[in-house]
């Protein structure tokens, strides 16, 4: 099971997923993402954007995509926005053909 780390910022909340976002890393990823947002809120950071860094992920499966959907709904509900950082083409394809790229900002990293 991968470990997750967060990189807080004042105007955005950063969460780094160290590996694939799949059914097996789902629980820990979800906990980490929501904990990061809760921590930022507790600090009263004026954050507008949640950035999930998937740059190390080779694969995002349907459970991982569902987490992103869940997070999109959550941040939209609170007037925020989701960005994801991706580097692997397979992840980019999965995000594109499920059209999640219309609901979040994709930052491509070489």
């Amino acid at each position: 099971m991968p470990t997750l780390s967060t990189a807080p910022s004042t105007d955005s909340v950063h969460v780094i997923i160290p590996g694939d976002l799949t059914s097996t890393s789902f629980d820990q990823a979800k906990l980490s993402v929501f904990q990061a947002m809760a921590d930022a809120d507790a600090r009263r950071d004026p954050w507008r954007t949640l950035r999930i860094d998937l740059g190390n992920a080779r694969m995002v499966d349907s459970v991982g995509l569902n987490l992103l959907v869940h997070v999109i709904k959550h941040v939209e509900q609170h007037g925020h926005h989701l960005e994801i950082v991706i580097s692997h083409p397979s992840v980019a394809r999965a995000i594109a053909f499920t059209r999640l790229d219309t609901k979040l900002t994709v930052i491509r990293r070489a």
Binding site: T24, R58, S62, V63, L65, I72, S90
Partner: protein, 556 residues
Amino acid sequence: MAFLKFWWQWADISGMNAPVAIPPTSAPQADRRAEPAAFGREDVARVLIVDDDSFTRSLLHHAAKLAGHDAVSADSAASARDIIETDGAASFDCVVADYLMPGETGLQLLHWLQAHDASLAVIIVTGNSERDVITAMLRGGAIDFLDKPIDPDAFVNALNRAISETVCCRAGELQRAAVRAMGEMQHQAILRGVAGTAAFDVRYRALRDVGGDFLMRMPLEDDGELLLVGDVAGHDVRSSYAAAYFQGLAFGALANGQPLKDMLQGFNRTLVEEWNAVGFTAAVAPITSVSVCAVEFDASRLRVVVSNAGFPNPCRVSRDGRVTEIETARTNPLGWFVNTVPRSTHHTFEAGETLLLWTDGLCEVAERNGVSPLAMTTVLMNAEATRSDELLRDAPDDVLVVSLPMDRRDAPEASAHWDPWWPVLMEEMPGADHGRIDALQANWEHQLRFVVPGMSEARLLDILLVLRESVLNAMCHGCNREARRRATLTVCLRLRSRLLRATIEDAGEGHDFDPAQHHDGADLAEFHRGLALINNLASSVKVARRGSRLTIDVRY
């Protein structure tokens, strides 16, 4: 200059008053022996003495003669080479060479001899007993070395040992050549078994020069045929003998009308009651057992009868790219228990299906490479010879793999465009194992990389994602995450058209929605997203049994 310790004393005892100087042999002798030396031969051993010092040369020459050997002398390494090239290395049984000679040293002559005939024993005589010189001589292949001054008894003892070594070595070589010839016959017999059938493909490699795996084919009545594939325990001359014995017995019995079952039972009885009988096995060593799979075909090759005694169950690859194990009434191997009665099972094939059989040696090679026997079969049958050789180089057992396309009437193999399905995976997974999906996925990745080493990383990940989604769906929904319910995954490849077909089945009730509708994830619905992934990554997705069987094609 060499010195012989106690020489005079020894010479007196031997009836000699003084050694006679022996000139170096200037011309090759006429009466050369073409055959290598062997124990018990009538002629004497022949020794070549090489020393630049005429005194030492004559002493050693006489010493060899006195010991009952024929001796030839040379005064330099170059002269020794001339003699050996003319007479042939096989005409000598030992070379005794001084280490320090003008021109080339004895060590240089030793190296030349090793390249020329490694079986010819060489003794180096040296006045320099430094460790590095001795080490170099022994590493270079010298059988022995003698320090100067030479003790005459030690010389004769060393000479006799060296001659014996040469004789043993050459006898061993003759035996090895005979075994290699036997192995070649065995190989040819296996190839003959498939001669005349273009699509009948075989890969065979014996662990040693001979092996215990065999294949034989013979016609049956009504234009049918019988394929006997077997594996005698072990992989040596004994196994090879048992394999040949079994084939001869099988051919004779079946050609004379004995039913296959009776033949197998009879041979089992012979093994148990005679070959492996207590008291007999003590002398013959390990008991002899034979695993054998007999496949009887009718004329169309669509009806098949399989009898299996301790052999891995064959597999069938369907024309739609699914692979299944053929369930047989497998018994113990022949030779273990007297009451072993091989029973046959009947199977119906469809045109275009392929039957695969392999001996357990393939399973061991597959295991060493961390892949399934199916993946190993596909690679051995299709890879370049260099890769096959590499994979089989360290095989711990004989390996025999047979691929037989069914229905010779249609002869799909005759088509230049024939692109059969080759299996990679056949797995059965309990629904409760959904938490192991990462491990399962890692295994699929390994198998696919093994079979298609050049597959692009991106395509491989797409395929893995498709497999993961479909298998998780089968385990979690089709099998309801229950341990007693199982999902199955088979993966086959069409290597020419670079098409992968995965078939995923579960024991569930299926569903009532149309998977083809789930292409889009923009509605943010948190369900059926796996189907959207599969539909978008695959070339085609076919649903059967209300979704409890998915057939997914992906080009790679």
